[in-house]
């Protein structure tokens, strides 16, 4: 029995192991898979379909949804609030690619191979363990009018600082900054894993050929990091599209709707304005772009899973 409970059992390498008859455990297999498939179907896929249906209806949460065809989508694309929210979402996507991803790569490259790299990375990782709401609380404290940042700026003679959280699009930009504070360390960690998995030989060969510094990074390291970069970029885009907590904790999308993103507009249209049809249409729109972005990294992950 001891071999059976060993932590790392030997890998199945028997040729044809996969082609054994499958019928023996037909019902047993279904029984084991049923709970997972059941809850996922009932509480994830069914709601997805339901939201899809609601996006074609006029519904205020009470009574019955009334079928209105594409009217809610037309309303959505004509709505100034939605377009504003779409623009802010775009800021979030671009900002996330530049800041947390760019900084993450920088930190990974800087810490790679130096003694005590873990400790150098730690300050960046710490905020990742803090929730989006707590991040919002801290950064509201820093950025509010007369807050910590304004006080620091006053010390160096800037007495009339911008109204960080009150003016658009500045409020979106500073919130991307807060999200960067939270997320850069994770990307650094992912890039570090990527750097560690790069084979040493080609790098050594390039070094012997006289490559160093920037040239080395551009011609050797960066191309070999591409698979991982795809994953980080995909995850970051999806993460920025889903971002809700930090914005909710800092501005709730305000003042007015000035810092709303699609994730917030959907919530507010539904649960504040009780326009379920419009909320559902926005949810569908958000999903379409999220799924498109997910394809970037998901295909790679699933094909990786198949190889295992």
């Amino acid at each position: 029995m001891s071999t059976l409970t060993a932590r790392r059992a030997p890998v199945d390498t028997t040729p044809g192991a996969r082609r054994r008859p499958r019928h023996t455990y037909l019902w047993s297999a279904r029984g084991f898979a049923l709970p997972a498939l059941g809850v996922v179907a009932l509480l994830l896929y069914l709601p997805f379909v339901w939201t899809g249906y609601l996006s074609f209806t006029e519904f205020n949460g009470l009574g019955d949804p009334e079928w209105v065809g594409l009217a809610k989508y037309q309303e959505m694309f004509a709505d100034a609030g939605f377009l504003n929210s779409l623009r802010n979402t775009l800021y979030w996507v671009v900002g996330t690619l530049v800041l947390p991803v760019g900084l993450g790569l920088l930190i990974a490259v800087l810490t790679y191979g130096i003694a005590g790299s873990f400790w150098y990375r730690l300050p960046f990782l710490l905020p990742y363990a803090i929730s989006g709401v707590a991040v919002g609380v801290i950064w509201t404290f820093i950025l509010q009018t007369g807050g910590a940042l304004d006080e620091a700026l006053a010390l160096v003679g800037i007495v009339d600082p911008p109204r960080w959280l009150l003016d658009s699009p500045l409020n979106t930009v500073v919130m991307i900054g807060a999200a960067t504070w939270q997320g850069a360390g994770v990307n650094a960690l992912l890039f570090t894993i990527g750097l560690q998995s790069i084979p040493k030989e080609p790098l050594e060969a390039a070094r012997l050929d006289g490559a160093s510094g920037w040239t080395m990074f551009r011609t050797m390291t960066w191309p070999m990091l591409t698979p991982l970069t795809t994953v980080v970029v995909g995850l970051s885009i999806v993460g920025s599209l889903k971002q809700f907590d930090v914005i909710w904790a800092m501005t709730k999308g305000g003042p007015g709707v000035s810092s709303e993103t699609l994730a917030l507009t959907m919530y507010k249209e539904t649960f504040v304005s009780n326009d379920y049809g419009l909320g559902a249409a926005i949810a569908i729109f958000l999903t379409v772009i999220t799924v498109a972005a997910s394809v970037l990294y998901l295909r790679r992950q699933l094909s990786g899973a198949k190889e295992l």
Binding site: L4, R7, A9, P10, D12, T14, R22, S28, A29, F32, A33, P35, A36, L37, V39, V40, L44, P47, F48, T51, L54, I107, I114, Y120, P123, F124, L125, L126, P127, A129, I130, S131, G132, V133, A134, G136, V137, I138, T140, F141, A148, A152, W181, G185, V186, L189, I193, V231, V238, L241, F244, D245, Y267, A280, I282, A283, T290, V291, L302, A305
Partner: protein
Amino acid sequence: MADRLRKTVLVVLGLLWLAPVYLMLVNAAKTNDQYGVVSVWAPAGLAGLWENLSSAWTRGNISEGILSTALYAVAAPLIAVIVGAAAGFAIVALRLRHGFVWFTVIFASTVFPMQMLLMPLFIGYVETGLYDTRTGMILIYTVISVPFAAFVMRNFFSGVAHQVFEAAVVDGASTWRIFWRIYLPMSTSALVAIFILQATLIWNDLLLGLTLTQSEETRPVMTALSALQTTYGGSTMPTVLAGGLIVSVPTVLVFLLAQRAFTRGLALGQY
């Protein structure tokens, strides 16, 4: 030389990164009299810390939130790892027909944003009486944890020789027994990693709490903190920061103690 430059940049950036944490700690420890008088950048002792913590704890209802969230963050991932592992076991060891298709179906549900769920969940929960109940919250947190659990466990079991399964069958063990007594104990490390990641995710949830709960007894802690922050007049900034501190300590500790689990989860796409 280049090394020194790298380290300097890292130290400067690192200090910049620690500044918000410093500000939170220093100001969560100020009394109401000190706050606003002493510069926010200057420490002023620990005089107000206890009062702010207890004020956030009791008046801000963080205490009830923590209690509920602790329940959610333990129960839901626990159920989810078993359900997910069972699915992985069915697909890999029992060779479920079209296993990879079912696996993809389960995992693909993770790409949909939460916004796709909120409305039907809210309506469905109200109609079934699950709205604003702890059962309802455990249920939904379990469901959102299952896909990742199934994903990791399927991959983990793929690395286990099928002979393990066959030998147990020869010994006359039932499939349930093989799952419960052999496969699950063998994968403790993976199960723990999933548990920790999902518990953290649930601990930090705001959106589901906002949508599916209402009363202080069921409201998760992040939703409570968010409410504490917006009740102007009732709570001062040091109290809110103290609240932020309370809710962050558990996840930061877990993160520091279980960094490897996080690294592993990250590599698998848990963000």
